[in-house]
């Protein structure tokens, strides 16, 4: 699917340790880009961008360490590899977690509060316009979600829900508290593919 208008097909990796991997893969494929499930270090060299999916951040963090992917991935992101963390992925990217000494990749200058809304009974969804992403209302789904309690100067806030920061961008890094992969709307995936093209 290489045409003048859409340019080269992007190869988008999805960290495939645990969580909503296939859901992201389907969105990427629907947008006619190549989706690769990343479980091995060598694969980091072959991708144009990486999605850190929703799931359990502690599980993914442990596996990043045990498989030796943590350091090379951090290095890649710092060198400019476009990366997008949804929910658990956002926690992996944060430099600081509230009431938790643990830091995983620690590349985005923000403080994230885990399970910020409570337990599963407090999971919810809303529809909102996120101007940076699209001028349409898009569905935002929060599942035992985190939110951001502090952002550094280089971090741009893309969306707030009830005064809490839930989507941000810092250079090559995008993070969302919610799960666009669980909806039919591909606007966020489209936006991320755009980040990978640049």
């Amino acid at each position: 699917m290489v045409t003048e208008e859409c340019g080269k097909t992007m190869k988008i990796g999805i960290l495939g340790f645990q969580g909503a991997v296939i859901e992201h893969q389907q969105h990427i494929q629907q947008l006619e880009q190549e989706a690769v499930i990343v479980r091995y270090r060598e694969q980091l060299e072959t991708i144009d961008g990486l999605i850190l999916p929703g799931g359990e951040s502690t599980t993914m963090g442990k596996l990043l360490n045990r498989t030796g992917l943590m350091d090379p991935l951090r290095e890649k992101i710092l060198q400019g590899l476009p990366v997008w963390g949804t929910c658990a992925g956002m926690i992996l990217l944060a430099k600081e977690l509230e009431q938790d000494p643990l830091v995983h990749l620690g590349v985005m200058d923000m403080t994230v509060k885990r399970n910020a809304y409570g337990t599963q009974i407090d999971s919810f969804d809303v529809r909102m316009v996120v101007p940076e992403i699209s001028n349409r209302e898009i569905p935002l789904v929060f599942i035992r979600a985190p939110y951001i309690t502090r952002v550094g100067k280089a971090v741009r806030v893309l969306c707030r829900v009830d005064d809490h920061i839930v989507a941000v961008r810092e250079r090559n890094m995008l993070a969302t508290s919610f799960h666009p992969e669980l909806t039919d709307d591909s606007a966020f995936h489209q936006y991320f593919i755009g980040m990978c093209r640049k």
Binding site: G16, F17, Q18, G19, A20, V21, I22, E23, R39, G54, G55, E56, T58, T59, K62, L63, R66, T67, C87, A88, D100, R114, N115, G118, T119, Q120, I121, S123, F124, D125, P139, V141, I143, R144, H179, L182
Partner: protein
């Protein structure tokens, strides 16, 4: 989007993960450190329930709360089949997921819990597609094989997963005129049979459970199509729970990589001692319908 969709979504977040039975806060921390994507809080693991006999009930809320406090991953707990008050109690303490489980002694011989009456999600066991769709029809947000809990013997989980897969293939390949008869044969809601026909899969996440004791068992269930695994007695009844738990977590991620699986299976200490299904006095899988 309704509460039910959000609950199915939570189950999606657990995919590719291992849910471990724990009986106290200390075990819960070991499970979390090993990389479990959730823990199941219960007073006795199935192997002990099987050994001790008697009536097995919902766990003490205080013990469940101690586990909720100890970990940040989702905490699940079990209620007896049909015991909707136990479910109300677990919902009141903010549990993340309820397992309406045949491992506990059933409280109702006729009816399962009406899961649509709850905000909190339910997972239920199934031996075949009909049973899975009946539970989903009642509002389950996640399905697991029943297997035969507390045996350390994976054969029943394999049987149930293969049966569900066979049944789904039949529904998928059937002509539309056959669907109502299949719904009748499977005793399953027609709309859900239609969903399986159109999508070739269950409308909710499907995990393996019951008898998984080794990394190879976990990978076997994944290769048979399950989306994650529950490990009950298999971890804390083994010689080195920490090491085994870590190995099973990684086996679920690398279930298709025999070289990795070989590494992970090395030197794990003793596995739990297993039971032959034919010798069992009580088959838990036969509880519920």
């Amino acid at each position: 989007m309704g509460k039910y969709e959000l609950n199915k979504n939570l189950a999606q977040m657990l995919k590719g993960g291992v849910i471990m039975d724990v009986t106290n806060a200390e075990q819960a921390k070991i499970a979390e450190a090993a990389g479990a994507c959730a823990v199941m809080a219960l007073e006795r693991v199935p192997a002990d329930i099987r050994r001790d006999g008697g009536v097995a009930r919902m766990s003490d809320p205080q013990m469940i709360k101690a586990i909720q406090k100890a970990v940040s991953i989702p905490v699940m707990a079990k209620v007896r089949i049909g015991h909707f008050v136990e479910a109300q109690i677990l919902e009141a303490i903010g549990i993340d997921f309820i397992d309406e489980s045949e491992v506990l002694t059933p409280a109702d011989e006729l009816y399962h819990v009406d899961k649509t009456a709850f905000k909190v999600p339910f997972v239920c066991g199934a031996r075949n597609l009909g049973e899975a769709l009946r539970r989903i029809g009642e509002g389950a947000a996640m399905i697991r094989t029943k297997g035969e809990a507390g045996t350390g013997n994976v054969v029943e989980a394999v049987t149930h997963m293969r049966q569900i897969n066979d049944d789904m293939r039949r529904v998928k390949n059937a002509g539309t005129e056959e669907l109502m008869s299949l719904a009748k044969e499977f005793c399953a809601p027609f709309e859900l049979v239609k969903y399986v026909h159109e999508n070739g899969k269950l409308p909710v996440v499907n995990f393996a459970a019951g008898g998984i004791a080794t990394p190879a068992d976990a990978a076997l269930m994944m290769q048979l199509g399950s989306e994650g695994v529950f490990v009950g007695s298999g971890i804390f009844k083994s010689g080195d729970p920490e090491k085994r738990a870590r190995a099973i977590v990684q086996a679920v991620t690398y279930y298709n990589d025999p070289v990795k699986l070989a590494e992970l299976s090395e030197n794990l200490g003793e596995a739990m001692s297993g039971l032959e299904i034919k010798t069992l006095e009580n088959k838990y899988a036969e509880r519920g319908w």
